[in-house]
């Protein structure tokens, strides 16, 4: 893998992805995490523009699962934006781009539209390089790094000694067929004909079969949906209801009551969505915050109150107990 500048590890979180997308200049979409593959969950998220299936393989390198798909990769075709994965940490952003750049109904913004045009004729490996060399994409991606002065130079602490493998695969319909876009594959995989209504169900089947194939408990899965911006969606729906209310005849009280109820429900959903967005923004602010001065000052205050020394002793005891328990568990396993 080549190193085109530094790409930091970012958290796989709908709030991070949503702000990342709008940071690239894209308008009118957001990301939602999907907790269950049942139909009613999918129904609530409609319209879904694309799905991102991601998993983290925790294990020694060399024993990673063979990435076999349910179909055969096609040679990259002109009408599909398909990029090979060049940099490990960029893969989330790359999966998001796979959806954004393959839909004609998303407002990309000037810079990303230029990028799409510029790279249109590139082969998959060059597209991957172009992503990793794009100042816009890299700087937005890296803005979600924690700003601790040291964090970018080291690995994620949760990764431990064996480097975890993150893998992201995008699913979306392109010109009447469901496609699986996996940066580690040779090309886009056509999973068969679909309609705008049937593709989500078909994609879920493909995801389920992948999950079954891996099966191992060491795999952590998650699924994200790229959807229309829900704040805009609810606002549009409220305007529609308002229009209907205006055109109602005076005596249509029953109908008026029904529409009023609809309007209240939409208002409630809109409010919840706004609160969620504010929460996401706050979480992102905290993610980007450098906490070292805060931590140092808390510790210094404890030292001034003569509480730090005994705390060091307690923490040492805890660490020793933890190590002993770990050793015991390890011995039991063998």
């Amino acid at each position: 893998m080549s190193e085109a500048g530094n790409w930091c590890l970012i958290e796989s979180d709908p709030g991070v992805f949503t702000e990342l997308i709008s940071g690239m200049g894209v308008r009118g979409v957001q990301v939602e995490e999907i907790w269950s593959l049942d139909e009613s969950t999918m129904e609530q998220l409609k319209p879904i523009l694309g799905l991102i299936f991601l998993f983290k393989w925790q294990g020694a390198s060399g024993s990673e699962p063979t990435v076999t798909s349910t179909g055969q990769p096609e040679a990259a075709t002109d009408h599909i934006f398909f990029a090979n994965q060049v940099i490990q940490n960029a893969c989330a952003t790359q999966a998001i781009l796979s959806i954004l750049l393959n839909r004609d109904d998303i407002e990309l913004g000037q810079e990303l539209r230029n990028f799409k045009e510029f790279t249109g004729d590139f082969p998959p490996d060059m597209k991957g390089l172009a992503i990793s060399n794009s100042d816009l994409i890299r700087s937005v991606h890296n803005s979600f790094a924690r700003s601790d002065p040291f964090v970018n130079e080291m690995q994620d602490p949760r990764a431990g000694k064996d480097e975890d493998l993150f893998h992201f695969i995008a699913y979306l319909p392109i010109h009447g067929a469901l496609y699986e876009l996996d940066g580690l594959s040779k090309g886009p995989v056509n999973l068969g004909a679909c309609t705008d209504d049937s593709w989500v169900g078909k994609a879920n089947e493909a995801i389920m079969s992948r999950m079954e194939k891996y099966g191992a408990s060491e795999l952590h899965f998650s699924l994200m949906a790229l959807t229309k911006d829900r704040i805009e969606l609810y606002q549009e729906q409220m305007e529609e209801v308002d229009g209907m209310l205006l055109s109602l005849p005076e005596d249509a009280t029953e109908e008026r009551r029904r529409l009023d109820d609809d309007r209240n429900l939409l208002g409630h959903k809109l409010q919840l969505e706004k609160e969620k967005r504010a929460r996401w923004h706050r979480e992102n602010t905290l993610r980007k915050h450098n906490f070292v001065p805060m931590i140092y000052n808390l510790l210094r205050t404890l030292a001034e109150r003569k509480e730090l020394d005994p705390l060091i002793t307690t923490a040492k005891e805890k660490a020793t107990t933890r190590a002993a328990e770990k050793a015991k568990k390890k011995a039991e396993k063998q």
Partner: protein
């Protein structure tokens, strides 16, 4: 590495139990305002919420890991600590402890000078 001393974690030092009395102290909270994110409101309640956030926990874990990796020399100098404090979580905590004792002594000396 089994016989090696098991490393401390800052999450075992700055526990909820340790932090609660500090965060209930208005004066201590006010002294922490400069270290809040820029867009945060300057209030004791905000300090409490920020310190209790999962992101703060994550920062504790990250800093612990970085200290154990022993590559934090320049950062420690910025905090007025000796670069040698950056070899483990324990040496970092001991350095803060010594710094506090040294400052206390300096204050006492100053007070005696004034007498």
């Amino acid at each position: 590495p089994d016989n090696q001393q098991s490393p401390l974690s800052l999450t075992d030092v700055l526990t909820t139990q340790t932090l609660t009395p500090l965060l209930n102290d208005r004066e201590i909270c006010s002294a922490l305002f400069p270290f809040l994110p820029e867009e945060s409101e300057r209030s004791p309640e905000e300090v409490r919420q920020v310190v209790q956030s999962p992101q703060f926990q994550q920062a504790l874990a990250t800093l612990s890991f970085a200290l154990e990796s022993g590559e934090l020399g320049p950062l420690l100098t910025q905090l007025g600590l000796d670069p040698s404090a950056g070899t483990s979580v324990e040496s970092f905590l001991r350095a803060i402890e010594q710094q506090a004792r040294r400052r206390e002594q300096e204050r006492n000396n100053d007070a005696m000078d004034e007498d």
